[in-house]
Structures are given as structure tokens and as C-alpha cells.
Amino acid sequence: MSTLTTAAYLVSSVLFILSLRGLSHPSTARRGNFLGILGMTIAIVTTLSNPGVLSYKEIGIAFLIGGLIGTSIAVKIQMTALPQLVAAFHSLVGLAAVFVAASAYYNPSAFNIGTFGSIPIGSLIEMSIGTAIGAVTFTGSIIAFGKLQGFVSGNPLVFKGQHFINLLLGLGIIVLIVKFCIDQNQELFWLIVFASFVIGVLLIVPIGGADMPVIVSMLNSYSGWAAAGIGFTLSNNLLIITGALVGSSGAILSYIMCKGMNRSFLNVLLGGFGGEQAASAGGVKDDRQAKQGNAADAAFMMKNSKTIIIVPGYGMAVAQAQHALREMVDLLKAAGAEVRYAIHPVAGRMPGHMNVLLAEANVPYDEVLELDEINRDFSETDVAFVIGANDVTNPAAKTDKTSAIYGMPILDVENAGQVFFVKRGMASGYAGVQNELFFRDNTLMLFGDAKKVCEDIIKGLEN
């Protein structure tokens, strides 16, 4: 690699770091994204000027096709479908890593790592590890995508001996890698790919839909490690640095999500948590009656309130209620109320999902607050309006040691003067735990589709 090339790759690495740094505040975030694009452009142009890269025409066509597909998907996608889009994109990174590794295996001279059949052992190790991580990322992300999109049931699929099979497969892959490094056999290469595909599927099927934020972040991390693995094969620092950035980013996000649920990462990975099965089996039959209100009551009370906090959750995304919600809030503000939003770390199906949906509905970002920032204010708030969230508001998490969600940080909505809880029915949340909040004296249930309820309240406010 020439000095100039190395320098150019260094510049793109720095630009990538700055691009993530830009996301520390919404006001600098767009510039950050631009720096990322600049870094990527430099990386691509530098690689194209490599003397070994000659087939510009074919590369151009492939790049154009990919670019067109990517752009048209990204322009059209609905913001509520972001989690599955991200999962689908991760799968592509994984698959690309597998193809690059396969290509390096069949034609190592293009990467300066010897010739076919006599690749140095170091490169073989890196290549096979990169391949395995890439392949796991690919199928794992496909399953995550299917669960989020609804192609595959969101319920955890658990069967006996699951973890044992995973362990066996994992050990099998290690044995295959060792054998591959010794005799460089091509069947072994594809066996590694195949076994990793299988383990990717098996890892994700037992995980319930609501645990997907952790899984999407984890796969984000994997796609980074796959890139870093290929970086070792290519002796390329840019790939290693970028892979490490992405890898640590995904790992930190998974950690934040796990903490938001008070569960260990291993506990999430072992799966079997959540889904409808758990909800029906674990949900305690309760003969207590929750008080039911209607939209007109809610409209009247909120109109006469000074401070209101909205607590959105995944139900808001499902019902596409964010626009109706914002209209409702506009009317309340016009009536003189101070309205803010409280976001729990695990609300939605990916980290920061709710923030994007509210931003889409033109809610200013400075009205949207995190759990730590707003939790103390509930006790001085007239109305808490819970829309599409459930477990993250359950006071039992603080008091009931036997509860499945005990210890999970929750939003203290019960401290508000009045709680309105928008919900489709009395079913329990994904953790299968009855929400104590429903039976509090200051809680009124508003049954119905989140969007419909908001529209009814708007009508009530307009009258």
C-alpha cells in the first residue's frame, strides 16, 4: 500500500469518528452524517485508484444498481418500519463480508496474501473468522427482520436442547476453522459458511419481538466485527478502525437496552422471554376492575390541566398515532398547558425509535426528554398520558420482588395527579405481567386504537 493510499484511508477513518461525534447533539448531527459520506467517498475513490482495480465498467454498474436500490428503499420507507429496515441492512453487510472473504479465498493474489491453496495461516484464520461472523450476521439479521416485519412469528421459538445444539454448532465451527487453516480445503470453507448460517438462525429464533432492540443493536455490533475481520485479511487499518467503531457502538447500545430492562445480556440471548405465550401463561387472572373513561372525559380534564407528560410506546408506532397525538398536543398547548414527552430507553423496537417518530410528527426535540431527565417531574404533573406503553410504567417493578420485571427502571407515571392509559384491551404487556397501574385510583383507561383515541380527544377539545 502506498503512503498516499494509507494517508487517505487515515483521513476517512478520522472522518468516520467525527461523523459519530456529530451525533452528540441534534444541531451538529446532519454535519456528522455529511462527514460520514465524505469519508466513504474518499475510501471508495482511493480504492478505485489502486493499480489492481481495473474493471471500472462492471464495478460502476454494480455500484449503480446497489446505489439505486438502497436510495429508493431509504426514500420510501415509513419511519415506523425503521427497525426492520436496519435489520435488513445489517444482513447485507454480513453477506458482503462472506462474499469478500470467499473472493479472497479463491483469488488471494488480488489482496496480496499468496496464491490459491497456499495462503499464509494468519490470513486464513482472519478470513475464516470474518466469514463466520459475517454469515451469522446475515441469517441472524434476516430472522430479526422477519420477526419485526411480521413474516416470522414474533413469539420466541423455544425447543428442548436448543442451547446444547448451539454450543455444539459453535464448537463445530471452531473445529472447522482449525481444519480449514491446516488444509485450505474449499469444502471446509463453505461448511464454515453453512454452519454459521444455521447458528445465526438458531440464535435469533428463541428471542421474542420485544427483545428486538437488544438484538438489532447486537447485530449492528456483529456487522462491525465482520468488517474488522475482513480488515485483518486485507491488512487495512481503515476497515479495522471502522469495524471497531461500529462494533463498540452496537455493543454499547445493547448494554443500554439491557440495562433499561434490568436484564443481563446473556439472559436476553438465551431467549424465551416475552411473546404472547408468556403473556397468556404468566398473566395472573385478575378480578379487580379498572376504571374506564372516554375521550370526552379525557379532553375535558386535559383542557383544564397546566402540566401534561405524554408517555409513548411501541403501541403508538403500531397505530401510526404520532401525527394525531401531536395535533392533540397542539390543541392542549393552545389551551395553555405545558406538554412534554417522556421516553423510556426500551420504548419501541430499536434504540431511539420513539424520538424519530415524534420528530417525524414535528415534535420539537427539546420537548422530548429521557427517563432520568423527567422522572422526578411526574409528582408535580397534573396529567400523565400513556399511549402504547405498558411494562415501562408498571409500579410493581419497584415494589414486587416476585415480578418478572422487578428492578427494571420505570417511569413514575403513578405520581401524576391523573393518569390516562390508552390501550386496546386489558391484555398484559410483553413481559406477561399485570400492570398495577390499571387499578390505581388516579388511573382512567381509554380503550381503543391509539390513533382513534387521539382523534376522538381532538374532537372533544375542539368542541
Binding site: 473472493s103 465482520a226 479495522i240 467503531l245 417525524e360
Partner: protein, 129 residues
Amino acid sequence: MSEISNQLESLSYKAQQIANEASQLASNVAETSGGHSDFIIFGITVLVLACFVGYYVVWSVTPALHSPLMGVTNAISSVIIVGALLAAGPVDSNISKYFGLVAVTLAAVNIFGGFVVTNRMLSMFKKKQ
């Protein structure tokens, strides 16, 4: 006398051969060790340091922007296109090149998709007027 000079000549010839072989060996060694096994240690150094950079940079990202963060990291992880381009680069067509071209396409979907969708998300974040 002439015998000695002959012997000297053949000795010097042998010495030269040995020197040649030695230099060739040395350059081979330099190629293998300087070329790759050294890079592993160097690469691991870079990896570990980059993980630390990533750790501090990502913790400074505001939680409100965690979705765009995933969008950006998804786009930049497609820097794997560097490998794909090298694979697709050679003129002669073989399976390696086709694999490379497929990888270029996949990575391009991701690069464009990732940056465009992130830009869409970020353009929606507005301050209170």
C-alpha cells in the same frame, strides 16, 4: 600457483552464490514477516485503540439520536466495499471477481440506504420555534 588461483576463483564464486542465496532468503523472510505476521500485532493495536475511541464517542451520543446512530454505523460498516472493490478489480473474469461484484452491489445498497435514511431522520429533528 595457477592451481591456487583456480581454487581462489572457485571459492570466490561459491562465496558469491552463498551471498546471493542469503540475500534472497533475507528478502523472503522480510516479505513474510514484514508483510503479514507483523501486521497482526499492528492491526490488533489499532483495533484495541479504535475500540476505546468508539467507546468514548458513542457514550457521548445523545439517546434521542440512537436510531440515527444505528443508521450511520450501518452505512459506515459498509466500508467493507474497499475489500469488494479489490476483489472485483482484476480484468480477467473468474468466480472471485463475480463474488467481488456481488459484494460491491450489497455494500452499495447499504451505503446509499444507510446515509439517505439517516439524513431523512436527522432532517426531522427540529428545535422549538
